[in-house]
């Protein structure tokens, strides 16, 4: 039958064959045993988690990533010793590595360096699981990257059994000459290897917010997506998925509800990896952050206790908003977490679990519908539902926003000038609603409708849409109905619409990391059409530069070429007044 899913290349590699190749590689791979597992007489982290859950232990995890592996190893040793002195121990860590770990070694020198260590030798890999009795999880830049196969192999041989990161499958690796097809092929091969080691407890880890969930507006979508990832990893690729979640949710109640839902949909016999304390509610007020931390820790420990999840609580140092935390600061928050863990069990009964349970059940109900919609939708696209290449490429090319906008269980938008209305809004979406109300108030109080009719075109260069909707909302408050271009709009499209609209300005939200190139292209398109109008840009006004490890700020360059730079949505008011 025809109608191969239109998102796929004509010569899409056979995903089943790639899985088989990965299984072949597995014949030569012998899994190591970490120091922690050795000390506890088990052979894998799954076994360790099982044992700890049976003992009733509440576990913790930490994030770490110094400049080099040697520094990181020393920090881990210090953390282990210092914790012991304070009377507790940390169960696991997850390493935040340099993005170059996803690239072949011959490309390391040329590619941009990022913060975080590199594992350069077999010895480095081995030490990750043996420098201290803390179990490593290697999530970043592993499976999903161009180096999926060798990274997975090195990790398994060292004794790392939770390897990530399904959610990073759509990440890009600057400098990698291959395309998304080649990258996904490497991922699928690595998954064949993981599947072959399934019965030795190799676990494919996924931190939801590293992927599509960060874009989703609905907690139902989170849960449905977790179900879909599990289908992909467990059913299609024959491995086992372990979920991690939490960084972008700052309301402890919704976070606990999501955790309960994730635990309820988890098959028996496996353990999710960790739940992350929030990363968005910390401010420069370090003392206040301790309150945020303690509340988060409490809810996460209660959830861990209630669900017997075996998924560690990952606390974030209170200074994170100010600087890269020191090792000492990591130990500090671990101390808080373990102190909270001691008190949590006796608070269990006073907690209103019915309320949270009810929310989590609604999430599962909606999530199940989202999952079914995805499965049906992909099948209708003609995707071979047993071929991991076809599945990965199709969802990668569709993108999170299109998937939620088409298959979500909330109110679906009929165009990109409308926003998806979630059934159970995420904290990020609620933050947007709050900002929207603020913009309404400010614009309502300060805005005067310009005397003459004024035509404004508003849109976004990429999938980020919140800022665009804030601008629309603000303009409507001052009585202007802007012409909405929508999201992922290209310069020629903006120019065409502005010309048809007789617009006097184009207001653009951009987060594509190429603000300057984009602005220059737009100016050219406008000039080609004889259009004279103002271009205003807001959002993340930066530009990726080859050879530099972080994008550079281009606000000044934008001003120089005549773009009106907006650092806040209220800057639009000035633009209107100037009109």
């Amino acid at each position: 039958m025809s109608n191969l899913a239109s998102y796929l290349p004509q010569d899409c590699p056979d995903g089943r064959a790639l899985l088989a190749q990965g299984r072949e590689i597995a014949r030569d791979v012998t899994m190591g045993v970490s120091l922690l597992c050795e000390q506890h007489g088990v052979t894998s982290e799954v076994q360790y988690k099982k044992k700890m859950v049976e003992e009733g232990r509440l576990m913790t995890s930490l994030n770490i990533g110094m400049q080099t592996w040697a520094e990181t190893a020393r920090a881990l040793e210090y953390i282990a010793e210092e914790s012991a002195k304070r009377g507790f121990r940390v169960d696991r860590y997850q390493m935040q590595m340099d993005r170059r770990m996803g690239l072949p070694p011959e490309m390391w020198e040329k590619a941009a360096k990022e913060t975080g260590p590199m594992l350069m030798s077999k010895q480095d890999w081995w030490e990750t699981a043996h420098c201290a009795p803390i179990q490593p999880q290697l999530g970043d830049m592993m499976i999903g990257s161009p180096m999926s196969v060798s990274n997975a192999r090195n990790a398994l041989e060292a004794g790392v059994t939770y390897i990530g990161n399904m959610s990073q499958f759509a990440w890009k690796y600057p400098g990698w000459p291959g395309d998304d097809v080649e990258q996904m092929a490497e991922m699928v091969k690595a998954m064949g290897l993981m599947a072959a080691k399934r019965d030795e407890d190799a676990m494919m880890q996924s931190y939801l917010e590293d992927g599509f969930c960060a874009t989703f507006k609905d907690y139902c979508s989170y849960i449905g997506w977790a179900m879909f990832e599990r289908y992909l990893i467990n059913e299609v690729m024959g491995s086992r998925l372990s979920i991690a979640y939490g960084g972008l949710t700052h309301n402890p109640v919704s976070k606990t509800a999501v955790i309960l839902a994730l635990e309820k949909i988890k098959p028996a016999g496996t353990f999710n990896s960790f739940y992350h304390c929030n990363t968005t509610a910390y401010s420069a007020q370090v003392d206040e952050n301790y309150a945020v931390l303690s509340i988060d820790d409490l809810y996460l420990m209660l959830a861990q206790h209630r669900t017997k999840s075996g998924a560690a609580t990952l606390s974030i140092p209170v200074t994170e908003a100010l600087r890269i935390p020191t090792t000492e600061e990591i130990v500090q928050v671990q101390t808080v977490a373990h102190r909270v863990a001691r008190d949590a069990p006796r608070l269990m009964e006073s907690f209103n679990w019915d309320h949270i349970d009810a929310i989590s059940d609604r999430m599962i109900e909606g999530g199940t519908r989202f999952y079914e919609n995805i499965m049906q939708g992909l099948e209708e696209l003609g995707v071979d539902m047993g071929d991991p290449m076809q599945l990965l490429l199709t969802i990668r090319r569709m993108g999170a926003q299109a998937i939620e906008n088409q298959w979500g269980v909330g109110e679906l938008p009929t165009s990109d000038a409308e926003i998806y209305e979630p059934e159970i809004p995420t904290d990020t979406f609620l933050d947007f609603v709050e900002r929207r109300n603020r913009v309404k108030t400010i614009f309502g109080a300060n805005g005067k409708k310009p005397k003459d009719a004024i035509q404004l075109v508003v849109g976004s260069t990429d999938i980020h849409e919140y800022a665009m909707f804030l601008i629309i909302e603000g303009l409507q408050q001052v009585g202007i109905q802007p012409i909405v271009a929508g999201t992922s709009v290209d310069p020629d499209e903006f120019a065409d619409l502005a010309l048809e609209a007789g617009a006097s300005a184009i207001l653009i939200s951009t987060h594509n990391g190429m603000a300057l190139t984009y602005a220059q292209q737009l100016q050219k398109e406008c000039a080609d059409r004889g259009l004279e109008l103002k271009i205003a840009m807001g959002g993340t006004l930066n530009q990726d530069v080859e050879g530099l490890n972080a994008p550079i700020d281009v606000k000044e360059q934008l001003k120089e070429i005549g773009v009106v730079v907006c650092t806040d949505v209220t800057d639009i008011l000035n633009l209107l007044q100037a009109h």
Partner: protein, 477 residues
């Protein structure tokens, strides 16, 4: 033979005035087709003859009528007519941007049954005017600007277009705030200038109905006279509309319910595809959505004049398959057909090549008409975007045109063509029919007055076959 009718068709079809026979006429570019039906929608008789546009179209009509059984040779209660003779309805479409108002205008012109002979966009200069004039359009459609948007272009272009020599009429379908002023620039006494709803009124919207109706009216008032159709219209007391428009109007009156309907009209020079439905629920605001009833014309796909274009549009892989199977050079075969448009296959080889060309033209035309994923490579990343109509749930595909009517197994041909398309949202398991009795133009003509009768006629004339190549179990209801 008695060439007369009792009254205009609407006098009978709109109410319940009794009648016993109606005459339907299509003056095609090569053949004039006629059909006589009764009030139940049953075909009492049909016939055809060569079109005689160069002298008097009535000669061809009379000859066709003479081929009917004696008791059907008139008089009739009413008659309806369509025509695509003498090159059809030549239209020029002018917009402000090619991608937005330009495209909306072209879609509207195609939808009205026009042959779009020239397009232009931007602020027209003398060169553009000369280029349009050289194509001798009958009608010019002028679009540009959202409602309340750009007005300068519409007014400037109207000023420029007023200098055209050939058009009988102008349709201003641009920015409503500037349309009257633009129309005034075009009015110099001799031309019929109409202002209609903007084809591109708001971002992400298209509105073609007002243009369609106005094009029909202008065709009736002015073009039919130029084509010598007024004798026929007087004799039979009927209007006459562009054949592609009549065919389009039949889309909504086929048997069954639900799902899009697709017509593919495979001609010697071009291949038309008409579709009803399949519009995506989610639309980008910076693109023109497809109209509910959409007609696309592939000027490079055909069986004779269009044969070289058909071959050039085939993938090298599918060309190689055909060439090795039939041991032929497709380019040579196509050129032979282009050089002799009256070419008729005489042996199995010629028939097999014709079939391969037909299958390719049908497949490519439907593929272009249907939705697909378009990838755009930009410095800030690739965008994969689904655009176009989703025709997968299509209920019926109908094949029209001589090549399909006379081919050995046209239903299988269309089934093969569709099954061979990859990567586009084309019909998945439609029922397939061939318009063997040329009933679709008639269905569309009648539909304007009596949808019930139109439905009955279509149901009686189209034999719906499930394609053996697609889903044998699907049968027409």
């Amino acid at each position: 033979m008695r060439l007369s009718t009792s009254d205009r068709a609407e006098a009978f079809l709109a109410g319940d005035r009794p009648w016993s026979s109606g005459l339907l006429i299509d003056v095609g570019s090569t053949f004039t087709k006629i059909m006589v039906i009764d009030p139940s929608g049953a075909v009492l008789g049909r016939a055809e003859s060569s079109t005689t546009i160069d002298n008097d179209v009535m000669d061809g009509i009379t000859a066709a009528i003479a081929n009917l059984p004696a008791d059907l040779q008139g008089p009739w209660d009413w008659a309806l007519a369509s025509s695509s003779a003498a090159g059809g309805l030549r239209m020029a479409s002018v917009g402000l941007t090619e991608a937005l108002s330009g495209r909306a205008g072209s879609l509207a012109a195609f939808g009205a049954g026009g042959k779009v002979v020239a397009t232009a966009h931007g602020f027209l200069d003398d060169e553009a005017i000369a280029r349009i004039d050289a194509e001798k359009p009958h009608l010019v459609l002028l679009a540009g600007g959202l409602d309340g948007g750009n007005s300068a272009a519409l007014i400037h272009n109207a000023e420029q277009l007023a200098r055209l020599k050939t058009p009988h009429g102008y349709i201003v379908a641009g920015n409503a705030s500037a349309a009257q002023e633009a129309a005034d620039k075009l009015r110099d006494g001799s031309r019929d200038v109409r202002v209609v709803d903007n084809v591109f009124p708001r971002a992400g919207e298209i509105a073609i109905m007002a243009t369609r109706d106005t094009v029909r009216d202008l065709f009736l008032r002015h073009i039919t006279r130029a084509k010598g159709l007024e004798g026929m219209m007087e004799t039979f007391r009927t209007d006459c509309e562009p054949t592609p428009l009549a065919v389009s109007l039949a889309l909504a009156h086929l048997p069954g319910d639900g799902g899009p309907v697709v017509f593919v009209d495979l001609g010697g020079a071009t291949t038309d595809v008409h579709s009803l439905g399949g519009v995506r629920p989610d639309q980008r605001k910076v693109e023109i959505p497809e109209p509910e009833i959409m007609r696309s014309v592939e000027g490079d796909l055909g069986m004779r004049w269009g044969a070289p274009g058909t071959v050039a549009s085939m993938t090298s892989a599918s060309r190689a398959v055909v060439e090795s199977r039939l041991s032929c050079n497709l380019e040579d075969e196509a050129n032979r057909r282009r050089d002799d448009p009256a070419f008729l296959p005489e042996n199995d080889h010629d028939r097999a090549v014709d079939r391969a060309l037909a299958e390719a033209a049908v497949a490519i035309a439907i593929e272009r008409h249907a939705g697909k994923v378009v990838v755009r490579h930009r410095p800030w990343g690739d965008r994969y975007q689904v655009t176009g109509k989703d025709l997968r749930p299509t209920r019926i595909v109908v094949g029209i045109g001589g090549a399909l009517r006379h081919g050995a197994e046209p239903v299988g041909l269309i089934g093969d063509a569709i099954a061979g398309i990859e990567g586009a949202q084309v019909p998945r398991n439609p029922a397939i029919a061939i318009d063997q009795s040329y009933a679709l133009y008639a269905t569309g003509l009648i539909a304007r007055h009596s949808p019930t009768l139109a439905r009955a006629l279509a149901a009686g004339t189209l034999r719906l076959d499930a394609s053996p190549h697609i889903t044998p179990e699907v049968q027409a209801s």
